[in-house]
Every structure is written in C-alpha cells, then in structure tokens.
C-alpha cells in the first residue's frame, strides 16, 4: 500500500513538472531534467528554448518539491496530533502553530521596509515556535501535560493570536491583501531558497515523528494504558508535539496556512491502511504530498494564465473524495 502511494506521488510529480500554464513539450521537460544529471547530461544536445529550461528548473521544480514536502509534513503532523490527542478533529494547527506563524508574518509585513519583507518566513517560523512553547507551558500542570489541557490551551492561544492578527490588519492601515493572501497559503513564486530553508526542519521533525509510531500506537488506548506498556508518556508528548510542530512551523513559514490537508489526509489514509501508526504515518506523509502536488498543479493550470489559491483546490478535490471513501467504508468511524 505504501508502495502504491509512493508510485502515485511520483506520477503526480512527473505530471506536475510536465504540465503548467506554459506548454513545455514533455520530451523537452525530460531532456531538461536528464541534462542535469552528471555524466549523462553532458552528452545531450541543448535543443530546447532557454526560457523553458528556466520555467522547468527554476519555477516549476522547486514548487513541486516544496509542495511535496509541505504536503508530507501536514499529513504526517496531522496524523500524529490526531493520534496523540485522541481527537479526530485535530490537525497540525490545533495547538497554535498556524496562528503563531500568522502573527509573525503579519508583524513582518506590517513593519514594512525591504528587510522586513524578506523576514516574513523567518518571522512566521519564530512566531509558530513561540506560540507552541507558550501553549505547552500553559498546559503544564503538576509536572504533567494533560492532553485536554494541551488542546484547550491551544484553542485559547490560537484565538488570542488570531485576534492580534486581525487587530494588526485593522490598525496598521496598510494594504491587507498580502496578509490575507499569505493566510490562504500557496506555492506561487516559491523557489529553491524556500526548499533549502524549510526542508531540514521538515525532514528532522518528520523523521522523529515517524520513529515515534509505536508510542502513538500505545497511546491509542489511553495514557494509562500506554504507561503500563512502558511508554514514558510525558516524554513522548514533548517529543511528538515538538517534532510535529517544528516541521509544521517550517512548512507554514514557506507556504502560508494551507488548510484541509492536515485534517483530512490522515483520515483518508486511515480508511485505506488502518490505524496502525507504523503504516499510517508514512502513508499520511505520502498521501499528503501527493494531494498537495496534485492540488498545486490544478491551481497552476486550471485557469491560465491566472492561478487559484491551492487551499481552494485541496478542499474542492479532497472534500468530496473523503466523503466518498467514508460512504464506501461503512466504517464505525463516526
């Protein structure tokens, strides 16, 4: 099943590289990519338009790679948070990553000045981590972090930060469109720089989450049950919340707040592969990557030369598909 998902992802990536608002012949796309390989590449004739090489390598490729990474991170973190909090409504943003990032980004955009503009991803990342730290310490009580506290503190902090974002938009009298647009999320104009900036965190956080699959399984039957299996539950919470949030923060800081993927991809994956986190986690990562790569491709080619926000596509495509799976599964899920 994982293999099938990986194949699907690879296929979507190839389609994503091959299709775009500008029609680059598929043969040229292949040759442009192969030419980049060592040894083989040198033997190829450069028989394609220079503009096309730039479109494929500089515009499309980083976008596809970034969409895959962000999708994988959101799917993986969503599955981790749903399992950890034992809550089907949880998503990667549930404990305040997104609102923290939004506040950071909004502050950077409101400050104005060339320097601040470049700082948006950095500020978003910092805001996300700060809000997670705040939520975690607010939820702590008597040496433990009860999961319900974590959830409630997350909701409280998120609402507060969202209010601050709205207040900033109202009071700074600047054009609010960039902020709104950042909040909607998307991959337009993202380049290799964003890939290099976000991937290390997404990879590190993701690997730690993947390595915690067994703890998440043990937690499926409750905290006490997990403790009796020998799980150091408090440490597992800290590690999982930290790793999933770090990866999500990195994803959000380069892509904005893309909804739906982190909530629904784990459910879709669970309907297909079951709730065993050893398969569910990598499955959600692959499915999230595939969904977002496909959604971004649709966003790029649906209304050329215009682009549509990728969040609209993920919800339009993913929502009905999820309902279809749910009806077919006849599961006792709800």
């Amino acid at each position: 099943m994982l293999l099938a998902l990986a194949t699907l992802l690879a296929a979507f990536c190839l389609v994503a590289l091959g299709r775009g608002a500008v029609a680059v012949p598929v043969g040229d796309v292949a040759r442009i990519l192969v030419a980049r390989l060592p040894l083989v590449g040198d033997r190829l004739l450069t028989a394609w338009a220079a503009g096309h090489e730039q479109i494929v390598l500089v515009v499309r490729a980083p976008r596809v790679v970034l969409a895959a990474g962000v999708g994988a991170t959101l799917g993986l973190s969503g599955a981790a948070f749903q399992g950890l909090l034992r809550n089907p409504m949880a998503d990667p943003y549930v404990i305040g990553v997104s609102s923290g990032a939004a506040l950071g980004a909004t502050v950077a955009m409101s400050l104005g000045g060339g320097l601040a503009r470049g700082l948006v991803p950095v500020a978003a990342f910092g805001g996300a981590l700060a809000s997670i730290a705040a939520v975690y310490s607010l939820a702590r009580s008597g040496g433990r972090v009860p999961l319900l506290n974590l959830l409630l503190a997350g909701i409280a902090v998120s609402s507060f930060l969202s209010a601050l974002v709205s207040a900033l938009m109202v009071f700074t009298h600047r054009d609010v469109r960039p902020v709104l647009f950042w909040l909607m999320g998307g991959f337009g104009g993202r380049g290799w720089f964003h890939v290099l900036a976000a991937y290390p965190y997404m990879l590190a956080g993701g690997l730690v989450v993947l390595a915690s699959a067994r703890e998440l399984n043990a937690l499926l039957l409750g905290e006490d049950s997990a403790r009796q299996l020998g799980v150091d539950v408090e440490r597992a919470k800290l590690v999982l919340v930290g790793a999933a949030s770090l990866a999500t923060a990195a994803a959000v800081s380069v892509s904005g707040i893309i909804g739906f993927v982190g909530l629904v991809v784990p459910h879709i994956t669970r309907l297909v592969v079951g709730a065993d986190h050893r398969i569910l986690l990598p499955g959600s990562a692959l499915a999230g990557a595939a969904l977002l790569v496909m959604a971004d491709t649709v966003a790029r080619i649906a209304l050329p030369p215009a682009e549509i926000p990728v969040g609209i596509v993920t919800a339009l495509v993913g929502g009905p598909f999820f309902l279809y799976l749910l009806r077919r599964a006849h599961s006792r899920f709800w």
Partner: protein, 295 residues
C-alpha cells in the same frame, strides 16, 4: 374643496423648502441608473470614495464637503475633513450625525452603503466610472447635481483634450506596442480586461500582458510571465518596502524588463482613481512606455 387641499399641500411643501434658490424637484439619473430627486443644491456633502472627494474639491466645492473616508488623501485639504470610516466599513452614526443632504457613493445600487443610507432617509448618488471614458461623464453628472456644471464642463473637456493628445502621440509613434506587466503585489496579482487600469494601460499605448486573463483581477502564473517576458513592468505603489520580495521570485531577475531596468513604480492613487487626475495618470504611464516621445 379639492382646490383648497391642493393649495394647503403646496403651501406646506414651500414652507418645507426653507426658501431654496433652485427650483424644487430636480430629477437625476445616477451612475447606477437610479432616479434621484433633489430639492435644492446640496450644501452638506459626504464623499464615500477618494475619487469623488477629488472631483468635489476640483469643482471648488471643498467647503461643502463635510465628511470623507479615511482613504481620501487628495487634495491635501481633504485630509482635514471629518472622517466617516473607510469606504468598505463606514460608520453610519457619524454619517447621520453630519446631517448630509447628499452622499456621493461609489459602486452599484445594490451595495450595502446605498441601501442602508437610503433606509436612513439620506439621499445617495452613486458614481460609477469603470472606464477612462466614463470619468468625464461622471464629473459632468456630479457638477450637475451639485450645481457646478460650468466647472465640471471645463475639467471634463481638459481631461478629454489631454487624453486625445496621448492617443495622437502614441498613434504617431507607430510600431509594436510595448507589453506591460502590471504588478499589484508580491503574489503577482495583476489586472485584466474589465479593470480600470487595463483601460488605462491600453490608452497609454501599452499592451497589457494579462490581456488573456478572464478576470479583472487575478494572480498571474509566474511561468507564463517568464514565457511572455514583458517589455515593461509597472508596480502600482510608491511603498518603498515593495519590491525586494519580487526580486526573490525564481526567474525574476532574468526577465528582460528587469535586466533592461524597465521596472517602474507609479503612484497607485494616480492610476487607479476615476477622478480629475486620470489624464495625469495616463500621461505618467505613457511617459514610462514611450520615454522618447513624452518628455
């Protein structure tokens, strides 16, 4: 008996008019096609759009303007006028408190501002100029409503002359029209056919790169931008913080316009407001597109 009733009613109406100089019951059709009947020349006017404010001041009616929006920044005198909120979310209490006898709104008859003010019994006149050509007509209409027809005629004629001048020079220049990418923000939002700015670019002798866009406003595909490689890029803002973000876009720096130094900024207010400065806006853009012709 019937005569007596008619007489009394007429008497009451006259009394209600407080001896206005203009003939009672002047009827107008506003920009949204609504019929509006005004008793006398408005003395207390609230402007709900920056372009309307500019028109009113240009007509010499600044002293009659009692309220403007927070966006109304031109002419500088307008800034001193009482603010009633922005054009999207006005404060209706403030508007009523100003006791206006006319509100100049922008947009359509169905907009919330129009329906709410009507419900409050305040006369609303809608100004709507979706194209450059419509600007002159709207100025004439406002002149008529406010009793400043002569001034309005002068301004409209001046705009017409200056636009004709630009048209003539562009025509004379001949050759291929330069392609223009109009950038609104770092997410590459741009203007398409149906927008005021699209009209303005065309009039100034440019070819809007996004002429294939099916929407007046939309986010433009970066790869299409690179493929089409415009001659000129214009950013409609004077905000100094705008720009570095564009340079971070993949492939931006290899665009022809960037390499040749033909990325310009213009004052967004000048080119986006259907007001008395519209000719100046067209000339500004034309100067950027044809530097050798417009000096």
């Amino acid at each position: 008996m019937r005569k007596l009733v008619t007489f009394l009613v007429a008497l009451l109406m006259v009394a209600g008019c407080r001896g206005g100089a203009a003939p009672a019951g002047r009827s107008f059709t506003d920009g949204a096609g609504r019929q509006l009947i005004l008793g006398e020349i408005p003395r207390r006017i609230v402007s709900m759009a920056p372009a309307n404010t500019e028109i009113l001041f240009a007509l010499g009616l600044g002293s009659r303007v009692v309220g403007v929006t927070t966006w109304c920044n031109y002419p500088p005198e307008a800034a001193g006028t009482e603010k009633v909120g922005d054009a999207w979310a006005p404060n209706y209490e403030l508007i009523v408190g100003l006791e206006p006898d006319l509100v100049l709104a922008a947009g359509t008859a169905e907009s919330e501002i129009v329906t709410r003010l009507e419900a409050l019994g305040i006369p609303v006149f809608v100004v709507d100029a979706p194209t450059i050509e419509a600007v002159g007509q709207q100025i004439l209409l406002i002149g008529e409503v406010t009793g400043a027809s002569i001034e309005a005629g002068d301004i409209a004629a001046g705009i017409g002359r200056r636009l004709d001048d630009v048209r003539g020079r562009v025509m004379a220049a001949g050759g291929e029209r330069p392609s223009v990418f109009w950038v609104l923000d770092e997410f590459l939002w741009t203007v398409g056919p149906g927008s005021f700015v699209h009209d303005l670019i065309t009039l100034a002798g440019g070819r809007n790169l996004a002429e294939g866009l099916g929407l007046p406003y939309a986010q433009y595909s970066l790869e299409v931008l690179i493929e089409q490689d415009p001659d000129v890029i214009i950013a409609a803002t004077l905000d100094p913080s705008f720009g570095p973000g564009l340079a971070d876009l993949p492939g931006w720096n290899s665009l022809k316009a960037v390499r040749e130094g033909r990325v310009y900024r213009v004052d967004g207010d000048l080119v986006s407001r259907p007001g008395p400065r519209v000719a100046e806006g067209v000339e500004t853009v034309a100067r950027l597109l044809y530097p050798e012709i417009f000096r």
